[in-house]
């Protein structure tokens, strides 16, 4: 709870700093404030949390773990933003404030214990993201991305709300425990309205996490938004969306898994194929990352389809690995784009000769996204697949492995471009902040890959 309060107050402080033209203090104050929030979250670890405020929030280990990952990823992305927002406009305090506001929504989303809080959390996060996607006001792609995201997001929220309403109509409760008790006590005569509600909630949440066939907004929105905002959307937001998804389904709907797991299984398989096969054809690195984020949503769905005691852990490891690797990829994209001016994969040609460090960390990130052993991505996939195999979902695992092989093709294209293609280019200047973030993320990726026990038994 303290984390939530600190992150809510911090943007207001930032807005005041912006008012008094303290531009230099913005980033340090943000990072210090977030570190304090991080400390407050870690302090509550193993605290035997009970639902607080009439059962609205439950800040247990699951919430703390996902809050910590979200906060750390946000800090890393904000460090990359030094000197970035200044190029867009002079009102940079507002940008930091809105990013932090959306982080408030994310903390609510990972620690809700009542469907009203889930809705409020998702809305806080989404409204902030609609604005962030459109902050390049004079850029047509950015406008398009913001408008598209807004319309699609509002539409999907309608489905989510309708689902929540129907579930309330059947069970008479917004509380996760209340809904679970309803399902358990009426196991033979659950209202059909309840099932319809579950399906509508699946539609709404799949929209938010960008799983096929509700993924249509993802490529355009991710491509049009400024790169760092795309990094934020495809890492922190996606991880939080899956945390919220998993929390609802494991806390309330786990006893009717036979009803919804075939639906999610079909969604997972479609997501994997659409994400990976479309990514093969992309020439733009940013668009390729957008489609790869769709396919990663498919892998993350595994933990929900094969719901079990280890699901939370699997999502946590996978989301951490994916977030950190994506941050490297987007950081490298921002740097290369500043030099070449385009998002194309060809822009990476011959990068290894002039910038061995940048090429190396980007290689680590690509290997991790593809799931090659000794990187964090492999560990994430390992936990996902072993969870599915425990429940004898062989077909899904086979489909996923085929997709992992397809994905190697497009991830390796970047590595080949960097090491084996030559192009006339000058050295990309890497600021110290970028060096720290890229190096730290690569180190964490390898550390988790070599010694997964670091985070694999936390939740």
């Amino acid at each position: 709870m303290n984390t939530l309060i600190i992150i809510s107050v911090l943007p207001i402080v930032l807005l005041y700093l912006g008012l008094y033209k303290a531009q230099k203090a913005l980033l340090p104050v943000t990072i210090v404030g977030m570190l304090v929030a991080l400390g407050a979250a870690v302090m509550q670890w193993n605290d035997n949390a009970q639902p607080i405020y009439h059962g609205m929030m439950l800040f247990n280990n699951f919430s703390i773990a996902f809050s910590v990952v979200s906060i750390i990823s946000t800090i890393l992305i904000l460090m990359l933003s030094k000197g970035y927002f200044e190029k867009i406009s002079s009102h940079i305090a507002e940008y930091y404030a809105i990013i932090l506001f959306s982080l408030v929504g994310i903390v609510v989303m990972v620690s809700y214990h009542n469907l009203t809080m889930l809705f409020v959390g998702i809305e806080i996060m989404s409204v902030s993201l609609y604005i962030l996607a459109g902050i390049r006001k004079n850029d047509f792609a950015s406008n398009e991305s913001a408008l598209k995201y807004f319309l699609m997001g509002a539409f999907s929220t309608g489905f989510l709300l309708f689902g929540i309403t129907l579930i309330y109509g059947a069970s008479g409760s917004f509380d996760l425990d209340g809904i679970r008790d309803y399902v358990l006590s009426h196991s033979h005569n659950i209202d059909p309205i309840f099932y319809t509600g579950v399906l509508l909630i699946i539609v709404g949440l799949c929209f938010k996490v960008g799983a096929a066939p509700f993924h249509f907004w993802t490529p355009d929105v991710y491509e049009g938004a400024p790169s760092l905002i795309t990094a934020y959307m495809s890492t922190v937001v996606k991880a939080a969306g899956f945390a919220a998804f998993l929390r609802l389904f494991s806390a309330s709907f786990s006893s009717i898994a036979a009803f919804w797991s075939p639906v999610l299984m079909v969604i997972t398989i479609i997501t994997l194929f659409i994400g990976n096969i479309t990514a093969l054809y992309q020439q733009s690195f940013k668009r390729m990352l957008a489609f790869s984020s769709i396919s990663h949503a498919g892998y993350l769905m595994f933990a929900i389809v094969a719901l079990g005691a280890a699901s939370a852990n699997a999502v946590f490891v996978y989301a951490t690995a994916y977030s950190i690797a994506s941050i490297i990829a987007f950081g490298a994209l921002v740097l290369v784009r500043q030099q070449t001016g385009s998002d194309n994969v060809d822009g990476f040609n011959g990068l290894a000769r002039k910038n061995p460090f940048l090429a190396f960390v980007l290689t680590v990130s690509m290997l991790s996204l593809a799931g090659i052993p000794l990187t964090a991505g492999f560990i994430g996939k390992f936990y996902m697949f072993s969870g599915a195999l425990l429940q004898y979902k062989y077909i899904m695992v086979i489909v996923a492995v085929v997709n992992a092989i397809i994905s190697i093709f497009y991830y390796f294209r970047v590595i080949i471009a960097m090491y084996f293609r030559s192009a006339e280019r000058s050295e990309v200047l890497i600021p110290a902040y970028y060096k720290f973030v890229l190096g730290f993320s690569a180190l964490v990726t390898i550390a988790i890959g070599v010694y997964p026990a670091l985070i694999s038994s936390l939740i």
Binding site: S102, V108, G172, P192, S227
Partner: protein, 169 residues
């Protein structure tokens, strides 16, 4: 009960007119009428607060805003894109499936005991306030963050930047 059926008929009738009207302005006027019938529904269900909010905010503010926006942008018949047949078919198919699911589940659930409100006067402003400031205090407070974020964002998007943006970001 007959009032309910009459008003429900009017709601459906006007909402069909909303999507079938040729001119967008007519469409919005029908939408206002549809929302007015919703207001009557809320009153019939003894939810007076919702009725007033629906009347003032949706009918009064938002739809008038809609109307102004429509008058500002140029919406001629020739500028309106013609949707391909397949898209129309897919939309009808999808919405039809949703309707079948909802209608069938509603029909089946009629037999089981509906959730009975413990307090039939729950929709009155007084009772709503009690619930909002007691049980649902936290969501109520946290929504302030939502409004603040939306406000900051609206100001940010609406202010003019003196600086020229650089192309390579």
């Amino acid at each position: 009960m007959s009032t309910f059926y009459f008003i429900a008929f009017l709601s459906i009738f006007f909402s069909i007119l909303v999507i079938s009207a040729k001119s967008p302005v007519h469409s919005i006027l029908y939408l206002i009428l549809t929302f007015f019938t919703f207001t009557i529904h809320y009153i019939l269900m003894n939810a007076q607060f919702l009725a007033i909010v629906n009347f003032i905010v949706y009918m009064g503010a938002i739809l008038v805003l809609f109307l102004y926006t429509l008058m500002l942008i140029n919406l001629n018949k020739d500028s309106e894109p013609v949707k391909p047949f397949m898209v129309k078919l897919a939309a009808v198919f999808g919405a039809g499936i949703l309707m079948v699911a909802l209608v069938s589940s509603l029909k089946l659930s009629g037999a089981s005991a509906p959730v009975v409100l413990t307090n039939p006067n729950l929709g009155l402003v007084k009772n709503l306030g009690k619930v909002l400031f007691n049980e649902f205090l936290l969501p109520f407070e946290v929504s302030s963050v939502l409004l603040l974020s939306a406000m900051v964002g609206a100001v940010l998007l609406a202010t003019k930047d003196p600086k020229e943006p650089k192309a390579t970001i």
